[in-house]
Symmetry: C2
């Protein structure tokens, strides 16, 4: 019987050390760019690395450094029970999430930190998130929570695990987060609609137990009040396209000629609903969205919308987490970003 070919064992520090004729420690120093190594040793080691095709083993490194070099990106609170024909991927399919993930990746990648993705819906999932960090598989958590009353932020801070949130938690917690100035955004939408000459404006809100959705409503209302409008017709949505259409129906019945939808998905739904009734956007009814997601360009007229600088916010999220990992005593910090109005055709 023929022998198995010798296992194609990848080379280790030891191998490199042997080839270079130096000690393991020296190779380690060179690999990690530590100072205080004589030049001829550095050269010898680099040559040996090239010859052996050495790649450091991350598990071994992680074992001793207690750093995995990865972070958990958790999307929490997706109620799969009401997920549509596209299944649990629906959250991920949300253009909003795409921008976020992109921003995260481009600020994580250069620092050689890798994101692992996790969806957290059930209590089991929540436990899994905590375990994953506790077992050292990830150094911290970047959490985007699409749900009110999400227990995860609390769970994570209780376990003293490093975490940064996208958007303000629904009750005060000692953790860092990034958010957009939602009230300012709501006010921008109001101003736009008023300046356009709309006489009767309404708002399609998101789920009001989500702080951001609430803030957009408040900002919008206050700005309308400043313009002398005391009452604003309101219809509640769930941030989905269909809910936007439904809410728009209600508002249209009340005779509005301008609508602020609290996100782009609902704005798209609103436009479709208006057009289904034979109305023209923006002449019969103007629509302003929120987010500036890719869906803003997928409808006619294209959406006028309050843009969140999501990529920048995502980068800041990553930055806050990485900073916290460097300095465990860092005090939690909130980073609030200003929205801008992107003018397209819908209002």
């Amino acid at each position: 019987m023929q022998d198995q070919p010798p296992a194609p064992r990848v080379s280790t520090l030891e191998d490199v050390a042997l080839v270079a004729g130096v000690s393991r420690a020296s190779v380690s120093r060179v690999v990690n760019g530590k100072p205080g190594v004589a030049e001829h040793i550095v050269d010898a080691v680099n040559a040996a690395i090239a010859r052996t095709g050495y790649v450091p083993n991350r598990a071994a490194r992680a074992l001793v450094t207690r750093r995995s070099g990865t972070v958990l990106v958790v999307v929490s609170g997706t109620d799969t029970s009401r997920s549509g024909p596209w299944g649990p991927g629906e959250v991920l399919a949300d253009p909003f999430f795409g921008r976020l993930a992109g921003g995260l990746m481009s600020s994580l990648a250069p620092r050689d930190v890798h994101p692992v993705l996790m969806l957290a819906v059930t209590d089991d999932d929540h436990a899994r998130v905590v375990s994953y960090v506790r077992e050292g598989s990830a150094d911290g958590v970047l959490l985007v929570s699409a749900q009110a009353g999400d227990p995860l932020p609390q769970l994570l801070t209780d376990a003293a695990l490093p975490v940064v949130l996208f958007s303000r938690p629904d009750h005060p917690l000692a953790l860092s987060y990034v958010d957009v100035n939602n009230r300012a955004g709501g006010a921008m939408a109001a101003r736009r609609l008023v300046e356009r000459g709309c006489r009767s404006v309404g708002i399609i809100t998101g789920p009001l137990d989500i702080p951001g959705a609430e803030d957009r409503l408040v900002g919008f209302r206050e700005a309308m009040a400043d313009h002398g409008v005391a009452f604003v017709p309101t219809a509640a949505g769930t941030f989905s396209v269909e809910s936007g259409s439904a809410a728009m129906g209600e508002l249209l019945d009340q005779g509005v000629d301008g609508v602020f939808a609290s996100n782009d998905n609902m704005a798209v739904g609103a436009i479709l609903a208006a057009q289904d009734r034979g109305l023209t956007v923006p002449d019969d009814v103007a629509v302003v969205g929120f987010d500036d997601s890719t869906s803003a360009l997928m409808c006619r007229p294209a959406l006028t919308t309050v843009r969140q600088p999501i990529e920048t916010m995502a980068a800041e999220m990553a930055g806050l987490l990485l900073e916290r990992l460097e300095d465990p005593d860092m005090r939690p910090r909130a980073a609030i970003f200003d929205p801008t109005l992107v003018e397209r055709g819908s209002a």
Copy 2:
């Protein structure tokens, strides 16, 4: 000066063993559910685990088992240089990717395998992907390549690393992949348009150096030929909404009354372009898409489209990779799925 509080060291196997009054080996056996452990020991260990709040350290386990329990999900060939206002996140924002990621996650999660996400554009990125697996950070690669001539599949097979592709590689390679029967899909679209009574149908293709795009064209053409139509007006797109609009313009100039767009994004673009010209869809011109992504519902009329069972395909991808990890000698396999026609309003 006051002492630091003792480091809140998480408990290890050793600690559990001490508490349970057994050896490390026994604890390990219990934790991993190995058979042949006396019941009273199992109980003692479980009690000790509960008391100590023990969580196994993954790095240590990975070091000896040479299995990381994670896989790399690589999206390759995103040309960031031509990325739009939404930056590199644009790929991720593609609804198509959302469905894929969702499918992957839901079949990986129950097997306790975690996906880490990576974008690969430059040569550096490609090297990074290979390194990541070679350094043991991931056990294999799930690759979705949005680009023709992507070197990554070749690179990965050359390095004998486990990899599964989404969609057939552009030249034969010894690796497993999943794909949809693109020709059958193209034929479905053709049949639909013909049965609707369209007299002059055209096609908006994707980049033809991508095998799938080519196949959709071929299948479409052949089916049209079967119906006695020898010539099909063609306009090339890039799978983006805008390219769909542009291509639709060309086709409309040639007087088509039915169009097959090779993906949903372009179909949406096509509908918008038609409507911009004052045409009604589907009466003046019918449009069939491909994918059945979430964007199919974001336009009016909603898209009639050739649906890919992406979630199923993603699950199969994961399955093929996991199987390969179990059995290194597994022969590469292709899994081809049948598309279905989803009838909505646009054709």
